[in-house]
Subunit: 246 residues, 2 copies
Amino acid sequence: MDLNEDFAIIQNSINKKFTTIIMCNCEINYFGRARSYLGEGDRMIIIKSDSCILVHKPKGRNPVNWMSSIPQITMNMEIDYFEIKAASVKPKEELLINIFEVYKIISYPLVDTEQLKLAGSEKDMSDMIYNNPSLISDDFKPLNREEKTEYGFLDVFGYDSKGNFVIIECKRYTAGLGAVTQLRRYIEKVKSSKGINKVIGIIAAPNISPRALKMLNDWGFEYKSINPPKNFKEESQNQIKINKYF
Amino acid sequence: MDLNEDFAIIQNSINKKFTTIIMCNCEINYFGRARSYLGEGDRMIIIKSDSCILVHKPKGRNPVNWMSSIPQITMNMEIDYFEIKAASVKPKEELLINIFEVYKIISYPLVDTEQLKLAGSEKDMSDMIYNNPSLISDDFKPLNREEKTEYGFLDVFGYDSKGNFVIIECKRYTAGLGAVTQLRRYIEKVKSSKGINKVIGIIAAPNISPRALKMLNDWGFEYKSINPPKNFKEESQNQIKINKYF
DNA sequence: GGGGAGAGATGCCGC
DNA sequence: GCGGCATTTCTCCCC
């Protein structure tokens, strides 16, 4: 196959909005949020029906270059190569792929109406704690979870039998310094905004790093080892907004 | 092509460590850091020479399922379908793809020795500030950049003519609340560890969110609008470790 | 190997 | 659209 033929096949496939895969020798320039250049080598180019375009090297999990949510992809035939160009206006970005040789092309219309079901997210974790407050302590009474407030995003909050306001920050993986400063920020804001002093801060995570634990202790907060649930489930939606509580 | 033939082609391609792409109808189960299920539909499966495996839906930038750095990929032929299984021990994970129909297969040995050159990262930004301290102020004297210390990762630090220690936190995009708490943590740590009080904290970023700016002002820190450089360059490597300064 | 932090992060959701 | 934040984040780097 010569390059003109490859060019026509690819252009036709993109026009029909088929999933298109090109294995080729190419060089790549990117201008936009950053600037990148990748010299000549073999790569796999994926162009999807929603005009998102990915370039993969022969190794590694992530694309080396990409562009998504762009209005259209244009192609230009030159003498010794052809160019695939993807451009977006906001953010102003441009991806230019010069293709010198094409090894393989796939063009096929894929149909997929299914959506991924996923369990084990941080939201599942906060739901679990909300529905099973004894995981935190016997006298924890949750009010709501996953609530976005002016001072931040509270995973779970409530109060205990001593009238303390309780804020729980969940992490589905090892909690680090960032988790502790996040919790600290929420607590400071709740204290100053709501004018309450009796606030208990808790990190709920499968693990916590040593330095994060030290910082947590220095700030008088608590750590509770909890794993995210990994089963698919339904749960009730009872909620009490934080602003209704005060 | 029947399924047995597809099975053999794919197994052979994986064994030869060729880049392998399969367009097919399949269902997917994932067990590991989370749990996911994706019902029957058309997808594209990418298996690279380093045994990383990606499953893409017909739309979207990110893979719907994936697995990387796994020792090997195994395949099993069943009656009406065949299974591709990727398993890792740490973290304990398993990806199971049941393939019911194969539409297209590519198998090709890609060769790519080039590496991406990239400009415009946060490191480029801190390098630029280090080499052009007047971007911050006329009397800023940088000591080092990108230094990992016991109290955190300092993008750029130095001192001014009044003897203030200056810590700069760079962000290549809009600085948010997290950037401010990060800076605050570094400054608190420097103050308590080094016993110095005259510390100036600066966020250097193209933009800053209103709430982050308010928090920055509340804490007495400063904001300097600086854009990351987007040109390839070389720079000098003169450095002074923070521990040498004190 | 664990921990901390960036990434052209992406994606989601709420204001 | 911006902002805040999770992600099976991934990746790099350093202890």
